[in-house]
Symmetry: C2
Subunit: 208 residues, 2 copies
């Protein structure tokens, strides 16, 4: 089947905004075709910068790290939830969503327009645990957000999702391009880091 790919990943460049308190990452060129005969870049970054995936071990003591997550969990039927202009996201936005086991639920908050501005990490929309309860009952694989996080300390929503093995995908972009798309697959592949989470490429595959 011919597929159209919609890239849901933020570009990881030489300047990246980070969650307050995180170390600022760097990506700098260390070799060029003109001088060394090949190009190369050196990256320094923590694992929760730009588009990335949280595995359970990110917040759950003894939870699965990225290596322990079955790779099939990185693929799933995509379900887009329209949560634009809602500052407190509850189970209500899932009304009529018909979630199935293995789905990857993407929450289009519209917040990615602020990526790169200080506001992005300030008053982003928060997701209540009631939202997580519905995802847990359905047995979805992952929940993705076009914002820095579904919640702030003490991270009740994070812990509920991760505690039930649901991956969290953060800092997505282009979710508005999926509005009105009937059927799509999400592929959310993290680098195979021996860590609690990590940088990932996330795309939607839409039948052309």
């Amino acid at each position: 089947m011919t597929m159209c790919i919609i890239d849901l990943s933020q570009t990881f460049g030489s300047t990246m905004p980070v969650y307050p308190g995180d170390v600022t990452p760097t990506l700098r060129q260390i070799a060029t075709v003109g001088t060394e005969g090949f190009s190369d870049f050196q990256l320094t970054s923590s694992m929760h910068v730009g588009t990335h995936i949280d595995a359970p071990a990110h917040m759950i003591d003894g939870g699965k790290n990225l290596l322990e997550v079955e790779p099939s969990q990185f693929f799933g039927r995509g379900v887009l939830i329209d949560a634009r202009n809602i500052s407190l996201i509850t189970a209500e936005v899932l009304h009529g969503a018909r979630l199935r086991a293995g789905d990857i639920v993407l929450v289009n908050t519209g917040w990615s327009v602020y990526f790169g501005q200080p506001r992005y990490y300030e008053d982003f929309p928060k997701v209540e645990t009631s939202f997580a309860d519905v995802l847990i009952a359905a047995g979805v694989s992952a929940a993705g957000f076009d914002s820095p996080s579904p919640d702030t300390a003490p991270f009740a929503t994070h812990k509920k999702l991760l505690g039930h093995g649901i991956l969290i995908i953060e800092n997505l972009v282009n979710l508005e391009r999926l509005l009105g798309v009937g059927e799509f697959e999400v592929v959310a592949l993290p680098v195979k880091f021996a860590a609690d989470g990590g940088l990932a490429r996330v795309v939607a595959r839409v039948p052309a």
Copy 2:
């Protein structure tokens, strides 16, 4: 359709072998659930370590970098080439392969058994430009190897492939698990780095 995922990616851990001359990467824990309430890791690495993708800009002046590659090129029908026990790989191994435009060709050299040993980067199998010529004629999307590189300086095979827009995937593993598999798809997704190449997760999807 139910799919079985075969992970073709090396684990990126706290000790990683690198191409001679490359900077040694580090992946170290900087926060724990017990102390900070969440886990995090700090990575320092160049882009051509572990399982990764070379975009044309890696060796071609003015070639496309990772951001300029169409994401559809990261997906393709997989074609496994059995090149075990061949130290000089030529076009001959492609005899009867029936390559099509957009394919992702994986070369099973068997060399990944040496990953982590000094030998891995020493006398790995070399791929001649005649092999690249056939891939170019067919218009494949990418060529992947379970070895550190298809060739050494002056990198004629690298330059031929990259010069024709064919991505190179290096340091794959588990290719022997695809021997005898009739039909599969390769998904080779790099993090969206603003660079000439980058760390990637590569998997095969086999109909269950």
